[in-house]
Assembly symmetry: C2
Amino acid sequence: MKIDPSLTPFFSPQGVAIIGASLDPTKLGYGLSRNLVQSGYRGAIHFINLKGGNLMGHPVYRHISETPDPVDLAVVLIPAQAIPAAIEDCAQRGIKALIIASGGFRETGSQGAALEDKCLDIARAYGVRLLGPNCIGLIDTHLPIDTTFLSPPGPTPGDVAFISHSGAICAAVIDWARGQGFGLSRMVSLGNQSDVTETDLLAPVAEDPYTRVITLYLEGVSDGRRFLEQAQAVTRQKPVVALKVGRYMSSQQAVASHTGALAGLESAYNAAFRRAGVIRAETTEELFDWARALAWCPLPKGRSVGVLTNAGGPGVTAIDALEAQGLNIANLSSGTEAALRDLLDPAASLKNPVDMLAAATPQQYAGCLQVLLDDAHVDSVMVILPPPPMHTAGGIAKAIIPVIYTADKPVIVALMGERLIQEAVEHFRAARIPEYRFPERAAEALAVLTQRAEYLTSSSEIQERSLQPFNDLNSVAVGSIISKYDSGGFISQEDAFDLMNAYGIPTVQPQLAQTAHQAADLAEEMGFPVAIKIASPQITHKSDVGGVLLYLQNSQEVENGFAKVIENSQAALPDADILGVLVQRMIPAGQDVIIGAIQDAQFGALVMFGSGGIEVEGLKDVQFELAPLSIKEAKQMLADTWAGKKLHGFRNIPPADQGAAIDVLLRLAQLACDYPQLAEIEINPLSVLEQGKGAFAVDVRVRLGG
Amino acid sequence: MKIDPSLTPFFSPQGVAIIGASLDPTKLGYGLSRNLVQSGYRGAIHFINLKGGNLMGHPVYRHISETPDPVDLAVVLIPAQAIPAAIEDCAQRGIKALIIASGGFRETGSQGAALEDKCLDIARAYGVRLLGPNCIGLIDTHLPIDTTFLSPPGPTPGDVAFISHSGAICAAVIDWARGQGFGLSRMVSLGNQSDVTETDLLAPVAEDPYTRVITLYLEGVSDGRRFLEQAQAVTRQKPVVALKVGRYMSSQQAVASHTGALAGLESAYNAAFRRAGVIRAETTEELFDWARALAWCPLPKGRSVGVLTNAGGPGVTAIDALEAQGLNIANLSSGTEAALRDLLDPAASLKNPVDMLAAATPQQYAGCLQVLLDDAHVDSVMVILPPPPMHTAGGIAKAIIPVIYTADKPVIVALMGERLIQEAVEHFRAARIPEYRFPERAAEALAVLTQRAEYLTSSSEIQERSLQPFNDLNSVAVGSIISKYDSGGFISQEDAFDLMNAYGIPTVQPQLAQTAHQAADLAEEMGFPVAIKIASPQITHKSDVGGVLLYLQNSQEVENGFAKVIENSQAALPDADILGVLVQRMIPAGQDVIIGAIQDAQFGALVMFGSGGIEVEGLKDVQFELAPLSIKEAKQMLADTWAGKKLHGFRNIPPADQGAAIDVLLRLAQLACDYPQLAEIEINPLSVLEQGKGAFAVDVRVRLGG
């Protein structure tokens, strides 16, 4: 990961100036000064306030220009109007990194937004980087430094980094983490992020050796593709968990296709997170439940979980929760059962979940846990600990911690209770062993560890994920079609089919013949059988006038048919302009699927695969991915939908030409990627014939962006 | 609710004897004695132990027969082998209610099960009721009484009752509730429930005036239909929340239909809980999160929620969470906005979520909350409280509690943090106002209150839920069809169609004609067009031999056709036995749905409605309900599936005859209910024609139970 050097002063400043430091303990400018001093920051500390004076043993300068060296970071908490000048003053003093804590900018309306833009212009002109405005600042518990004005105590040092679009959530998380028994490494509040964004900070925060997991509270991302690229680089090194909110707040884009209607705003985020290996949490508690497990546990080699309990009920609860998470209940090897039998009461249950019974001793807990960990069929273990009637939970914790410490498999503890388990909670937290209140949350944490392990395995197979190379894409044809249209809106169906053909997507495009001979030639080219249909702008209900003939088997039938449909049409509507006859290949019945693409405002081209036809929006059997696609990703889209599973064959549904469907999906993804002006493309249906017979776009709609 | 008087001694005993009381503080029999004495139980306390002596100021009798009056409940904790005699001794002493805490019964294997059966036989012979064996006993914090041996402290008095199939979970919940700030009213551990079951206890526990909500930890129910009936009676009075586990533990029943394959074991539980108004929690934390809200809050009149916050991020999180729960974000009335404007900083956001900004005072919190509660568009309010930078969370709690107290709408508090909100937590808990750690959990609690309110409204419309009366069901015909079969397995297709006809379900059943004239008569009866098909056991591929004619429009065509298909068949296969010709009505293309029924081992007849055809198991677009069905329930099954929504019409899919489909569903439910020996019935497809044209069973399969 390459770190932008202009961001370095934020995370390892030599000297920090607080502009707006205050001697009045009721002011936030006092809190800021206090936190910086009390954080134990070892660089130079400079306070600036027009009134001068002395604060916590440091002189208060009247102007930033008076500050002695070293100083390379300024934290600014003064009225918004004074900020532009302050940025300029800082730049002239040689300070190239500013944290602007003050509010009164974009969040207050258009005047504030103008002021914010002005600040950014000045900063850009001087090469100054801005964090904020309207932010809480940042904390590094290991450097250490605290540039916030939050009420003490600050966070406990730890290994979880937190980057947040909300300052209030930073304050809540710092306070809450203490009660949950985990510490933070770095915390950054982004505020209005006029300059530095969540994406900019991923690499610098990941670089921190104390950070073992990065958590994000996101209300969006500033640049979808850049986020994807940065996050992909980071997640190969360290896990990233994100809570993305605002799914119901943003207004829907205007869409004219099924693809657009089904995509919403979250499909692109889900696809981007999946591709980047970012784990998406649905709640704040999940975010940090999962972060603890990711920070503290080795990763499992597979999905099989051993459960160790001293009571039946919690064991059943655990099994339910693990199965609901898609994990497997490990089949214990016979050697394991024998070893457990030696350790336990004869009435104990030696099958998974292993129920040691209520009287289980600390030694039995430790011994059985070791036996489970030694079983090659067990990839991870959940230890369940309700208040034990005969022993203390604390005693059991002390007995099993050494076993967990030396294990190379993850062990998650489900502690049940409050007062009677408090000592155990403290032991586990001190040992950095994740504990959760009930088996359900513990199961989620194990599932996330598994997800992380599987991501690392798949991202290490990077060569397999290479994109499909196409040598037969006709850009000239696409360009000439697009250039025919001045403005947005749907392009003609003929052009839409031509667009498909230009990217090598087979269609059953109707073609116009003006003579019987031409019709026969076209039919020969397409292959029989064909259908012919009268082409006339005045005739919409073609079959009503005898203007359609189906299943014509040879040239002779086509030539005769040409004459017949023209005759029929002229008889029915003598005034109609007859342009000729459309010839269309008739394909056998196949499996109909939908393949579509839209341009997501944030992440660009997004493709969809799923159950098509007129019911597509009702069934919602669709899957989205960012374009372009690798073959592996395209296959996964098929595997994740019922439409795709059916292509593989299902009961008496025969298998279809999956390879052809994947080829169309890849080509459409490439087209959407190459031409962002194609706002929506939808093939519905794509008829996928039996194996080896191909897949054909039967209907295509393409809308150009405005 | 009628309470079984034989259960009264469990909940209001005049005197309690502990058989197996121990003077040794390391023994559970000591803990039992200690808990009973320390619970403050005001009736007579008697200890029994062969060794005699004196325990906590009470004499220890050597035998139950020596116990003086009053004594009507015994708690037994002695070796399993001695229990049968103890039951007999108790009965002879006039004690008709026993709690058997001892283990060593069914849970240990077949020998234990035999001993348990023996105990039950003795108890039944003497009219004695048993709780347990292998249970922890019961607690009533208000009577008060504690018959458990659990380590102190016992639960805080409160208003949440807990009935559990797991003793370990009882122990955990008692301990955990203290940390969560709620108390228990009654707690019962059921153990092996050889006699008294979860269903028996619903009414006695609900009757307790201190109990405001009943929570259940269930590993199953002992008698599905009785549970349904008891729970229905209880939930009209008091809310019931259940955590049902073991969904992955029980082995699947053997099934031969799509209906059976899709039902699994949980469909019946889900249907039963829904019908009984039992709220199903997925995790232990949800169980009690929801119980607190149900115990402490008034119910909302609608789904519109007002959100009051002092920061944007948590507001966005709340909106997401509320929308995900299917609740609405209230549209505040203009009067509300004006009133808020008077109270708040000009930069505050007056739209919902109302963001008072970080500096919001306790007075602003209280004032704005009152304004929101006064808005007729607001049915409930979520108050969000991250650690406030300028004020204390405790101060804000004190300011808003009086407003919440006097409100007739529910107010749920989302407190964010730990240390800085601790005082607020304590204020809210003391005031019995539900508080949760983040907006997501608060939103769930509001959704559950809404679900409860809607259930009460719908169950008060009880007359509307009356079943559909059928006067045209032909039981004689059904009986004679079933009696044709000696053993289980599929019945013939002809019988299956006849079964449908007997219950008034229209079919396109083929009927055999042996003469041309008979064929024409049958066709006249069915209505044209019809198809005719050769009937011969040797001819399976009927159309290959010219044995099928479609779309015959009148009697003449049928008579001619009759001769023709016989002639064709005889020509093709001269040796075939010709039974005649099958005549079948041809119906226009309709919407195909599946309607099925199976017999659930626990709850009896269960019906299914959904998307049919060969893809039914892939789409899983189905809904289950217990039979018989009310019209309202049948309509709801349609509303809950895509197949049902389509019958209503969707885009260019025309509406179909929903009434006819509902009629078939009701009739099939009635049939499955009336004849439990019909193990599986499946109509797939039922073709639902356009409005007014009916719905016809095109294919029917019926399997008789073994």
